[in-house]
Structure formats: C-alpha cells, structure tokens
C-alpha cells in the first residue's frame, strides 16, 4: 500500500536518534546474521548488512527478526549460536521499538454484512443486498480491516444504487397492492435436460417429484401459464407468505427443503435463501420471505440421498419429495403507513434542516457536523421548492445520506468518544448499529467505566448470532467447506446436508462455549462434539433427532473433539480428492496460533500430487531441507502430516487411495474420465521443532495442548483483530498478555475473554 509522503518525511526526522541509540543491533547482525543475510547470500530475500537506518522502519522485517530470535529458529542449529544474554538484549530493543509502531488502524467503512444488518435494524425490513453491494476484500482473514476497505467508482456507484433501492422501498408513494397466486402440478416444472431438451425429475399424477440433492439437476420451479415454461417472477418488493403442500415418500425421518432464488430452468447459479425442515409425516410448510421484483423461486430437496434427478421411466428407489400445491401471497403490508415510514418521517411538516438532522441522527446515532449538513439541506430545499411531496423529499435526502461518508464510514477519534465506543462494541457483538440502551449507557459514561453489564446484555440478545456466524465464518473459513468437491465419483456417500452440517460444526462449538462459559481449551480437545442428526450419523455416534446441534458425549476411544478433529476443517483444507498436509498445517498455525505466514511470493506452489506418486512425504520433506523454506515448513509439515489418517471429507482412513484418471481413448468422448483406484500406506510421523513427536490425531492434540498458552493468546488475538478492525502484532503483546492473565482464574472461558477484551483500555483507543 502506498504510504503518504509525509509519514516517510516524519520518520526520517526521527531516524538519526534511533541509529545512535541502537548500535547494539548493527553489531549483533554483523556477528550473527550477515553470513546468510548479507552481500554474499540473501536467504529469504533478507539482507542485514546494510546500515540500520535503511531498514529500521520496516516493521514487518523487525517483527520477523524478533519472532525468529525468540523462537530460537535463527541462527539455524548448525550455525554458531549467540549468547542468550545478547539475544535477550536485542529482543528488548526490538520489542521497545515495535511497541511504538502499533498499526495505524485506518478509517473503516461498513462491510456488506454490517451495512445489511444496520439497515435491517433501522427499518425493520429483511433487506438482502447480495448482487447490489460488492463483496468485501479480506486482510489477514477478516473483512473488517480499514486497510482492506478499498474504495472505487464501482463501489460508490453500488452505494448510490443500493441507497435508491432502499429509499424507494421504505418510502413508497402508495400502499403496495397485495396479490395471491395459486399453483398446482400443472404449473410445476423440473430443470431442463440440456442434452435432450426434456424435463428433469417427473410428474406423478397430481404431484411433482424431486429426487436429487444437486440443485441444478433437481429442482422445482413454477410457471403462471401451464403450457409455457416461462418462470413466475415476483412483481414487487415486499414480504410474501409462502404456503406449500408437500410430503416425503419412502422416508422414515425428517427431510429438508431448500428455497432458492434463481432461474430453475437452467443450471445456473442458485442462491439458497432458506432451509425448511419437514418433520416425518409433515403435510407441507408455511414461511415468510422478503423478496424483490424479478426474484424467481425454486424449491430443492436438499436432504435427498442421490446427487442427480430421476426420470419417470426410471424412478428412484430411495426417498422422494412430492409437491402438490403452492400459494404465494404478497406483498404483505400489516400496517399503513409502515413503521419505517413513521420512523423516517415522524411529522409531515418537517423543515428541510430539521429533516436532514433527524435522518442523519437516525442512520448513525451521531449528529451531522454543522458544516457537513448544508449540502444535504440544499437538496431538501430544492426538492421542496420544485413542489415535490414530503415523501419524495425525504427519499432524496435519505439516498444522499446513505451514500455519504457520514453513513458509509465509521470514523474514530484517537481516544474513542463514548458514542464511538458504543459503535465499536455494537459492530463487534451485533455486527450492527448500537441500540438506544447501549447509547444511553455510553453517554452516561458507564460503558467506559464498567462495560460488563452491557456486554452481558448484548451476549444474551439474539443479535449476538451475527457475531457468532460472522466471526467463526471468517476465523475458521467455514464458507470454504463447500468450495471443493467432494468428487462424486470418489465420495459417493457424502451428501449435501452432511457437508452443510460440517460447515456449521465449528460455529456451533463456538456458540456452545460462549453460552455455557466453557474454556477455550475445548477448541483444542474436548470430550464432546456439537452434532445434529446427519453429523452424528457421519461420525458414527448414537442417533440424534433433528437438524439442531446439541452436545454429544464422545465414546472413550473416539479421536474426535476439538477444531482439528472436525470434518469441516479436514474437508476445507482438502481438494476434490486429495488431502493437503501443507494446507492443514498452515491453517493450524494461522488460525490457532495466529501466526502470520504467507505462501512465498516468488515460488510457484505445485502441491505434491498423491495421484501420480507414492512419495508425497519425500516430495514435501524437500521443503524442510531448503533453508529458505524450512523456517516455516518445519512447523507446518508435522502438524499437517499428523492428520493424514483423515481423508478429504474428514473420515478416518487406514491408507491412501491412490486415484488415477485414466487417459481417454481417442474414440470415446471424455466428459467423464474413468478413475483407477490403488492403495498406498500412510506414514504420518514427524517431529515438531520443539522436539515433540506427532504421528496421529491424538498425539497432535497432545502437542497442541502442550502449547495451549500460545493458542489461547492466538485466539484472543483473532478476537481482538475482529473487534478493533486491525491487525494484531507484537506491539499488542502486553495487551494480549493482560487479557490472557485476567481470564486465567475463569479457566480461560471464551465468554470471560470477550468481557476482558472490551474492558481493556485498548478497546477505547483507535
């Protein structure tokens, strides 16, 4: 990132003082480092023989030096070692310097999730801005960092468009007209078979039958005209009531129906907006959805047992889902004028300036500075003089304010004001704007003095679900669980809802620890897992009813328990049909230890491929022999290899299945390449840099438990990063250490950690 010139100049002014004060560093580097990091060699592209002034401002470099010295990774074992006293002295100098260079925490804007929640809470409407607002970039795993919040004309255009979308809908000129549509089997269609042009799945008397879980191949969508295949589309924005008559057949358990947006006629991307459990014997379901004009509904059988659809001439043997009648009613307007309209325009005779002040305060709970409001007042005035209605005037002002920095940016003072502190806390625990109680606590000064009561209240509020979802999704990368495969040719039995459950397990564990004040140690290992019906079956645990997650005690001999034993983690770090020890090891270092490791920029990473070789171990061990790679890979590889007894979908295995794609014969079409399976033995044992040997999941967990102080601090660091919206570096060491010590008496409970983070003085600084 480009740094403004003035910072460089300013630092230049301090430079001389630093150089004089720290000749110790130069001497230490000259004696111990420059043989490999000097004029002859520049291992890892690091060079320490230059005058100190040329790199003393490179915080990343200093931090790396401090880290490798402290861990004893440098100088390497075979080289002469400096006296420990010398190392300690150098570390102290570096630490002092790094403490002064805490990251700047640049101005943040609302992320798409924050924006969405804020608008929902302000206007009480379940808006969805997917497709309107672009997704956010992430920096070190989180989308909350100001440095990652790029601004572009495209982004501003999206804000403008979204603001108009919101204003047109919360401030309509007239009451929307309610309609009712009824559909039966004559209007029901399945996905089109693109090879033959025929319909997917089939009609059976007065029911339409779905059989497969792949949404593109097996879905139900609706046409208005029984003869035509044109989709029924939602005519206007609003809330709709959906009543579906449906039943399962050949099934003895509860099933799950997916409601999706998208054109069901063709295999294009679907967005699943809701999943509805249908208990055994159910006759259908009713639900309410907020939809927008142009939306097209399609229903899927998400808990189906086979991937693809079936045809009438060849009906499936297993469970099917049968749909017979659908009623759609809406848009529903329970009261008129709506609550949002009353909030936005409490009185019909508001003066332009009054209107602007009222809306500005409503949107961000912060008044608009006097100098900032003129331009908005001008909009209101010119609307009023041109004879526009009060509603139209309010719409214009609302669009302008929603597009303005006043709403988009979360500005923070060096020492947070009470209101700014309320915002930080609210976007941390609710991912949304503060409510009236929190603001009251803030302005009375209670929040700054003792936030415990407010934090407790917020953790008890249902809005905390947004924190749990959002934080765990980003921290554990749970949205990547379904990124790859599994290749249905190899993993025939892994079904859609099982993968969906895997993606929720980490989040449910976090929720359980938070709600029950349990120790963070359960992230490393525990005697229970969080499971629902499908996951319990997948793990081979006693039967559980229903899709809700409950704690399940593990049998004594089970290896499960803890994040690294979760199928979701094991799957998201694998490709379609191969595990990746490097990916798994680096996931553990990055997400549990909160270490900063990046793939080497100048190396093309060709993952060793077990399909073609039996020597994956040797191939990967090469890393450790190359000096430039070994610093990270001597840590990464043992952690990853210990997990090799778990396959790409997280099941225990005894040996590798060596999979080979057979070359296509010239005469055949090769759309589906044939696979050949052979088996290869696993060797998972390796030694960690600290001398501990790991060779399977239990020994890995033992090694992680031995490191639990580091891991707890790593997790605290992740939470602090998320809460403050900035990177946590060595400069935060005292901050993190203080939080760690303060929760020791509470057995390192996750809930206590969150209290301690908010109570720490750093929480009140930019």
């Amino acid at each position: 990132m480009m740094r403004p010139l003035w910072i460089v100049l300013l630092l230049g002014m301090f430079l001389n003082a630093n150089v004089r004060a720290e000749p110790v560093l130069e001497q230490f580097f000259a004696q111990n480092c420059i043989e490999c990091h000097g004029s002859q060699e520049q291992n890892g592209e690091v060079r320490l023989d230059m005058p100190l002034s040329t790199f003393i401002d490179d915080e990343d470099l200093l931090e790396t030096i401090a880290n490798v010295l402290e861990a004893g990774e440098m100088p390497p074992e075979e080289a002469p070692q400096p006296k420990s006293q010398a190392v300690a002295e150098v570390l102290q100098i570096l630490q002092k310097r790094l403490l002064k260079t805490r990251p700047a925490n640049p101005l943040k804007r609302l992320t798409r999730d924050e924006y969405t929640n804020t608008i929902r809470d302000l206007f009480g409407t379940e808006f969805d801005f997917n497709g309107l607002l672009p997704p956010d970039h992430t920096e070190h795993g989180f989308d909350k960092f100001g440095e990652a919040h790029l601004m572009s004309p495209h982004q501003v255009m999206a804000y403008l468009k979204t603001a108009r979308f919101i204003a047109d809908r919360v401030l309509p000129d007239s009451k929307p007209v309610k309609n009712t549509w009824e559909f039966d089997v004559r209007h029901f269609h399945g996905s089109k078979n693109f090879a033959t042009g025929g319909g997917g799945d089939y009609r059976d008397e007065d029911e339409y039958v779905l059989t497969g879980f792949r949404p593109y191949r097996s879905n139900l969508h609706i046409s208005i005209d029984p003869e035509a295949h044109d989709q029924f589309t939602i005519p206007a924005f609003g809330e709709y009531q959906i009543d579906m008559k449906a039943r399962s057949d050949e099934s003895n358990e509860s099933e799950i129906i997916g409601i999706n947006l998208g054109d069901g006629r063709h295999p294009t991307s679907f967005e699943t907006i809701r999943r509805i459990p249908m208990p055994h014997g159910s006759k259908g379901f009713s639900t309410r959805l907020t939809l927008k004009a142009g939306d097209q509904l399609a229903f899927t059988f998400d808990s189906a047992r086979v991937p693809g659809r079936s045809l009438a001439k060849n009906p499936p043997k297993g469970p099917t889902l049968r749909f017979s009648h659908l009623k759609v009613t809406g848009p529903l307007t329970p009261q008129w004028p709506t609550a949002a309209m009353k909030t936005i325009l409490p009185r019909p005779d508001m003066k332009p300036a009054e209107l602007v002040d009222h809306l500005a305060l409503l949107l961000t709970k912060r008044p608009l500075a006097a100098k900032d409001r003129e331009s908005f007042v001008k909009i209101a005035e010119s609307q009023a003089t041109s004879g526009a209605s009060m509603t139209a005037t309010a719409r214009s002002v609302l669009i302008a304010l929603l597009t303005s920095p006043h709403f988009i940016y979360k500005s923070e003072s060096p020492e947070l004001s009470d209101i700014e502190r309320a915002h930080r806390l609210s976007y941390f625990l609710w991912n949304s704007v503060p409510d009236a109680k929190l603001l009251a606590a803030a302005s009375s000064g209670v929040l700054g003095r003792d936030p415990a009561a407010e934090v407790e209240r917020m953790l008890e509020d249902s809005r905390v679900d947004r924190f749990i979802d959002n934080f765990t999704r980003q921290w554990l990368q749970l949205d990547k669980v379904d990124d790859f495969g599994p290749d249905v040719r190899v993993f025939k039995n892994v079904r859609r809802m099982t993968v969906d459950s895997m993606a929720r397990e980490g989040q449910e564990l976090f929720r359980h620890l938070l709600e029950n004040e349990l120790s963070m140690e359960h992230f490393i290992d525990s005697d229970f897992v969080m499971a629902n019906d499908r996951l319990a079956r997948f793990y081979g645990l006693p039967k559980i009813e229903g899709g809700d997650f409950v704690p399940v005690k593990l049998p004594a001999r089970s290896e499960r328990g803890g994040l690294v034993a979760q199928a979701g983690f094991l799957k998201l770090t694998s490709t379609d049909f191969a595990t990746s020890p490097i990916h798994r090891g680096s996931w553990i270092l990055k997400n549990l230890y909160n270490e900063r490791i990046e793939p080497p920029a100048d190396v093309l990473i060709n993952e060793p491929d077990i399909r073609g070789t039996t020597t994956i171990r040797e191939a990967i061990l090469k890393h450790q022999q190359l000096e430039s790679c070994s610093r990270c890979h001597s840590k990464i590889d043992p952690l990853g290899f210990a997990l090799e007894y778990y396959d790409p979908v997280g099941r225990k295995r005894k040996e590798y299945r060596h999979i080979e794609e057979l070359p296509a014969k010239l005469e055949g079409t090769t759309f589906q390449k044939k696979l050949k399976f052979t088996t290869v033995p696993i060797d998972a044992s390796m030694t960690l840099p600290n001398g501990m040997e790991v060779h399977d999941l239990p020994t890995l967990k033992a090694a992680l438990l031995a490191d639990k102080e580091k891991i707890f601090k790593g997790i605290i660091g992740k939470l602090v990063s998320y809460a403050h919206g900035r990177d946590v570096t060595r400069a935060d060491r005292l901050h993190i250490d203080a939080i760690f010590s303060s929760i020791a008496q509470e057995d390192f409970s996750l809930r206590a950690a969150i209290h301690a983070i908010v109570a720490h003085p750093e929480f009140g600084r930019k």
């Binding site: 101005l107 495209h154 294009t268 900032d372 909009i379 302008a400």
Partner: protein, 412 residues
C-alpha cells in the same frame, strides 16, 4: 456551479488523470477525416473441428482446409494462430473454465487480473461513444458463458436478446424522461456527498485522510460517468435502415447472423468501438436436416457421421462471420471502410469440445493492415502473448497481459 466543474477538471488534469474525462463536445460524431480504431471479438464456445480449420503448413497455404476456406475472401488480411494455450482455462471441470478465455489469467477467488482483452481495449478506445463496449451472446447467460470482465474483475453484462440490443442502440427509450430525472438527482446527491466528504476530511488524521481521498476520487469518477450518461440521454439515437425480424433462436444462421448484423450496425453508427460476440451452445442449436443438437454433436467421439453434422453447423457459423466481414468492407465510415478501421479477433474457448481439451487453441485475426497473412503454428505459447500484441496494436504501452511471456507482432 460552473466554476466548480472547471476547477475539478483542472485538478484532474494536474493529477495526470485527464483521460478520465471524455471530451464531451466531440462525442458522437465521426469526423470525416478520422479513422478511429475498432475491435470486434468473436468467441465460439464449442470451438471448431481443427483438422478442417488449421492448415498443415506454416506461413501461406496451398489448399485451405474446408472450414478455413469460408474466409477465402479475406485471406489477404487474415493471420491464423494455432496451438496456443491459456493458463486461465486449465482447471475445473465441464465448461466452467471457459470463463477465462479472454483474460489470459483467471482465479475464481480473486478479482484481480480477470480483465478480459476486449474490455482492456475498450477502456482505451471507448471514451467517445455512447457505449464503451457492447457484449452480445447467442443464448442465455450461464455461469460459464461469461467471458467479458472489466478492470474491477466484475462481469460485463452480456445481452442475449437481439430485440434488447436493437432498442438499446436505436430506439427511443420511454423511460428516458424518468432517467433524466434520476440522473439530475444523482448529480445533486454526488455534489452533496462530495462536499460532506471534503468537510469531514479536514477533521481526519493523515492515514484516514488518505482513505477519504480514495472516496473523493471515486465520487468524482462517478460524476463523470453520470455526466456521460446524461449527455447521451439528451442526444437522439442514430437512424438505421434495418428491420429486426422475428427469427428462430434455434437456428445458428438466424441467431448468430442477427447478432453479427447488430454488431456491424453498432460499429458503423459509432455507437461503440468495441463489440464482443459470444456464441455458447446452450440454446441447443438445431437445424432442420440435423439430428442432435450442437453440444451433443460437439462430443462427436470421432464418429464420422457426427463430425459431418457438426461441420455443417461450424460452416454455417463461419459463413455468417465471413459475410459480416464482407459487409464491413462495403460500408464506408468517414473516409475509409468499416473493415479498414476494425481489428477482428475470432477464437474459441476450447481446443476440442469433444475431449474438453483446454489447450491447443486457435485464433484468427483479421486486419486490413496485415503485412504477412498466413498461418503461424505455436506450441505451448500463452494466448496472452497474442492479447498483449493486440493491446499494443491499439497503442497500449503495457508490457504484460494475463500470463504473457512476450508480445506477438500481430501484423508483421
């Protein structure tokens, strides 16, 4: 108000981004003496049966293979490249990898570097026309048929309805009055947020001010876009002597032909200077005398009777393209023919749709300035080298595009 606009323009020029400002006063008129450069990009998703397309010999050929022979009118201006590969389309199953064909580099998780060559060139030549570029496709837009990506890595809308294209180019929009109002409102809103941002900026520290600068710059660029829209919304669309008839969406001849007609009209009326036409298979082209649809036939399994049917479709597509090139030679714009002003790139998303082979790609370039026409056989050379060559042909100073390892001299 007026003074403010002037100031902003001065500021932008000083900052070295004057290119962002379209020269509004000159928009929409092709100067008699000027010959603007244009680009026509055509991608056939299901590729071509290459034994019938690629000549055996390098350089000039004696007997053109049958498919290539469809272009016999244009051999003097044609260079055909074979054996190119494209790292952008190497991974994934089915047809999905094809989204990166014009990008030369594509990563589904990162939006950086997805920019496609048609948009890269449109960014250079598209400032003075109503549309910076237009992208058409024969068939519905599916997740794998998106090939045009802007500099932000976002998909450029690919229009599949000839009626919509025709209305966009030539019909008076009934919502125009509405649109004028919205644009006027947009302008006053942008003014307001700009002045709030300036006022807020004064209270920020330097790091935050840099962030706010990004916002200010972006808002100013959006103002330009809005101004441009307002400018064009005020101007009448060109009159053309073209009747858009009903046509059979399942006929290659009619569907692809209609889109190509509209592409030529869009260029001829200077509505845009960059048109991209994507021909996917999804509509399942069916011709009366053929059994099986296009996709089915493309998996021919080397069966002679299927190849024969497939070739009928490919001949029909190439004949229409050749016909359009001929039309472009006949149409005079300013003081030269439309063909003289246009570089045409024809390529395919796969080497062979039979085996879903994503390398060994063919590319045909038509340009009236071609010095050495003929066949250039390559092996394991990235398609990006051709793209970089095209980019430079349009005057770019870039030294890289996608995964390029060098630049082709396209004309010599």
């Amino acid at each position: 108000m007026r003074r403010q606009t002037m100031k902003r323009r001065t500021f932008l020029t000083a900052a070295g981004v004057s290119l962002l400002l379209p020269r509004l006063e000159s928009l929409g008129q092709v100067n008699e003496s000027a010959s603007p450069r244009r680009l026509l990009t055509i991608v056939n998703h299901l590729s071509f049966y290459q034994p019938e397309l690629i000549p055996e010999e390098d350089g000039s050929w004696d007997d053109a293979p049958a498919l290539l022979n469809e272009f016999s009118d244009h051999f003097g201006q044609l260079k055909i490249f074979s054996g190119l590969n494209n790292p952008a389309v190497q991974n994934g199953f089915g047809h999905t990898p094809c989204v990166g064909i014009l990008s030369g580099y594509f990563n589904k998780l990162h939006r950086k570097n997805r920019l496609s060559i048609d948009q890269a060139i449109a960014d250079m030549i598209g400032d003075e026309t109503r549309f910076k570029s237009l992208v058409f496709q024969a068939g519905e837009n599916l997740n794998f048929s998106q090939i045009s990506w802007d500099k932000y890595g976002l998909p450029v809308h690919q229009i599949d309805s000839p009626r919509k294209i025709f209305n966009l180019l030539f019909q008076v929009n009934e919502d125009d009055r509405m649109q004028q109002q919205v644009l006027a409102e947009d302008r006053s809103i942008l003014d307001a947020v700009l002045s709030q941002a300036r006022s807020m900026e004064k209270r920020l520290n330097a790091t935050d001010r840099a962030k706010m600068d990004e916002y200010l710059t972006s808002v100013r660029e959006v103002e330009q876009i809005v101004n441009r829209r307002a400018h064009w919304a005020n101007r009448s669309k060109p009159d053309v002597n073209y009747e858009l008839d009903d046509f059979n969406r399942k006929s290659v001849d009619e569907y692809v032909g209609t889109l190509l007609d509209l592409a030529v009209l869009a260029l001829e009326t200077d509505s845009t200077r960059a048109v991209t036409v994507q021909i996917p298979f999804w509509e399942g082209f069916k011709e009366p005398e053929l059994s099986g649809n296009y996709h089915d036939l493309s998996h021919h399994g080397q069966k002679p009777e299927k190849i024969k049917s497939l070739l009928m479709l490919e001949h029909a597509i190439l004949k229409r393209i050749s016909g359009s090139l001929k039309t472009m030679k006949e149409r005079q714009v300013g003081n030269s023919s439309l063909f003289d002003q246009t570089t045409t790139l024809l390529t395919a998303s796969m080497g062979s749709a039979n085996s879903h082979n994503f390398d060994d790609l063919p590319a045909l370039v038509f340009d009236s300035r071609m010095k050495n026409a003929g066949h250039r056989r390559e092996k394991d050379v990235p398609m990006s080298n051709l793209y970089l060559g095209l980019l430079q042909l349009f005057g770019a100073e870039n030294e890289h595009f996608g995964e390029s390892t060098g630049a082709f001299e396209v004309l010599s």
